[in-house]
């Protein structure tokens, strides 16, 4: 693997955004994901390689560390910020068709739930793993999820709930999706949610960590 790709993955894993960023302290005054991505593309490395072996590799590493409690939310947020900065340089390649996303992922917190930190983490990690993410935000009605599915019929849908009180909204949204669009893959997550609840409401997948969802979809697509 090219040195540039290794450096991009490393910067994303450790949340080094760009040269100006003071984080992490041991990488101060060094180039970050921003600079290395530009340098990689300028040196002739294909956007596909940058995405696959730079961004996705970096996000996979941080996703696994998060799952294993080696890092926590602040570190993942920094990685996601570094990834977003790098991704900005790849956007023209998506627009031109040279790069293709792994699919579309629609995500939102269910109706009544205003806690978006988990939803944001999943959104960032999915984006970093090459998915086109449509983030509907917080307190999303079933209607709004249905409209998004209408526009993106092949999309995977992710529903997030932090409150036990909003688990009922999750159940309603899943029921409607499965009734009207049974082929849609529905993933659920959030503190009060469990595998048993996933089975009860007829969702397809539950994972306590974003990386679990990434790996489930990788397997499913292969």
């Amino acid at each position: 693997m090219s040195d540039y790709l290794h450096k991009i993955a490393h910067c994303i894993e450790f949340g080094k955004i760009n040269r100006q960023s003071p984080y992490p302290p041991n990488m101060k005054d060094q180039d970050g994901a921003d600079e290395y991505t530009q340098q990689a593309l300028q040196s002739g490395i294909s956007a596909q390689h940058v995405l696959l072996h730079g961004l996705i590799t970096g996000m996979e590493k941080i996703g696994k560390k998060f799952r294993e409690n080696q890092v926590f939310v602040p570190q993942v947020l920094m990685s996601a910020k570094a990834m977003n900065t790098a991704m900005a340089h790849l956007m023209p390649y998506f627009s031109s068709g040279e790069l293709k996303s792994k699919g579309t992922f629609i995500i939102g917190t269910v109706a009544g739930d205003l806690h978006d930190i988990g939803k944001n983490l999943v959104s960032m990690i999915m984006k970093g793993n090459g998915w086109n993410v449509i983030d509907l935000g917080m307190d999303v009605s079933t209607e709004k999820f249905m409209e998004a599915i209408q526009q993106h019929p092949d999309a995977v849908v992710g529903l997030s709930a932090l409150l036990t009180t909003t688990m009922a909204s999750m159940e309603q949204t899943v029921a409607r999706i499965k009734a009207e669009k049974p082929a849609t893959t529905v993933a659920i997550g959030g503190a009060p949610v469990s595998q048993a609840f996933c089975e009860k409401i007829g969702a397809d997948v539950y994972s306590p960590h974003p990386q679990g969802l990434v790996e489930y979809l990788e397997k499913k697509n292969n």
Binding site: Q75, T164, A168, P192
Partner: protein, 334 residues
């Protein structure tokens, strides 16, 4: 036979004496409001509803403590955020008070007696004192330094600020700490015996970040409350196993444990002086039939017989929990 007040029961537990049965103190908010036919919005907006709801629950479920916990945005509102009350949901914070580092510099500690939301909680403490005459422990409530900083700046932005701008983070959390002390003092003076300090977001940060930014501020708040004669209940829901050694140094009198945390390990790390409160999964309390809830709670109570322990769910009892399941929890304490 001598009949002890709930305060005397709690005092016995504190001193390490056998109170005769396990103390029962679930966290009630939305459930308590529904129990008296009111909405969560009314419960959060009006101390009269909050106190009435808790007193009814105290009676119906024979609880051993009452609380002023309602929502995270009392202090945030006093700092200047707009709050919208939702009939059947947690109040919403309409704007982040902190958007830039300059906002942190300008942020002033509000007068808790001047803002309606902080004053409302103080009035709640006074109402409990009138109703209970110091015979039942009353738990006031404050936001911990990181939780309040997140309420003011937004969770993601605050957590990134910890990484990117430690100096600004420290300044903001110092101001939040001062607010916590001021608000705690007002509630103690109004009649609270214990101050609950909610810092839930801490379960989402690593031990190093907790030690660098949060632990010493929580410790200072605890020491201040102790200096005023109050006790502290630290509430960080979620998995805090990785934080337990640092939490020990905070010197809280009661530590809430959520269901993800091993209670034996917590006793071992936190030591014998700390009262552990927990830790049944609230979803389990909601979903299981009453006899199963009783069985689960009884097993936990039995396992804690020689420990300083209060039976509760790991976090708030959900609004959809059947009341008979709370009765079953209380029965398990006998």
């Amino acid at each position: 036979m001598e009949t002890l007040t709930k305060m005397q029961l709690f005092e016995r537990l504190r001193r390490g004496e056998n109170p005769g049965r396990t103390i029962f103190s679930p966290i009630l908010m939305h459930f308590a409001a529904r129990h008296i036919g009111r909405t969560y919005g009314e419960f959060a907006a009006d101390h009269k509803v909050l106190v009435e709801a808790n007193l009814k629950a105290l009676k119906d479920f024979d609880m051993d403590m009452v609380s002023l916990i309602s929502d995270p945005y009392r202090e945030t509102a006093a700092f200047g955020a707009g709050i919208e009350f939702i009939p059947e949901g947690v109040p919403r914070c309409l704007n982040n008070v902190i958007k830039t580092a300059a906002d942190i510099e300008k942020l002033e500690i509000p007068d808790v007696y001047q803002h309606e939301r902080t004053l409302d909680r103080i009035r709640g403490a006074e109402a409990y004192r009138r109703a209970l005459n110091d015979e039942v422990p009353v738990i006031g409530w404050i936001e911990g330094p990181l939780a309040e900083a997140c309420d003011l700046a937004g969770v993601s932005d605050m957590l990134m600020m910890l990484m990117m701008d430690p100096e600004a983070s420290e300044l903001l959390m110092d101001k939040c700490m001062e607010m916590a002390k001021t608000f705690a003092r007002a509630q103690l003076e109004a009649g609270c015996h214990i101050i609950g300090m909610g810092d839930a977001v801490c379960s989402q940060i690593d031990a190093g970040t907790y030690e660098n930014f949060v632990r010493d501020r929580q410790k200072e708040i605890v020491a201040y409350i102790h200096s005023l004669g109050g006790l502290v209940k630290l509430h960080i829901c979620g998995n805090i196993t990785h934080l337990l050694p640092a939490i020990r140094e905070v010197n809280a009198d009661i530590v809430d444990l959520d269901w993800q945390v091993g209670i034996s390990e917590a006793h071992k790390i936190l030591g014998n002086d700390v009262i552990i409160c927990g830790n049944i999964n609230p979803v389990t309390v909601q979903d299981l039939p009453a006899d199963k809830v009783h069985e689960l709670c009884r097993d936990l109570v039995m396992s804690q017989q020689n420990q300083k322990f209060i039976l509760s769910a790991g976090c708030e009892i959900t609004v959809n929990t059947p009341p008979e399941n709370l009765v079953a929890m209380r029965k398990a304490c006998q």
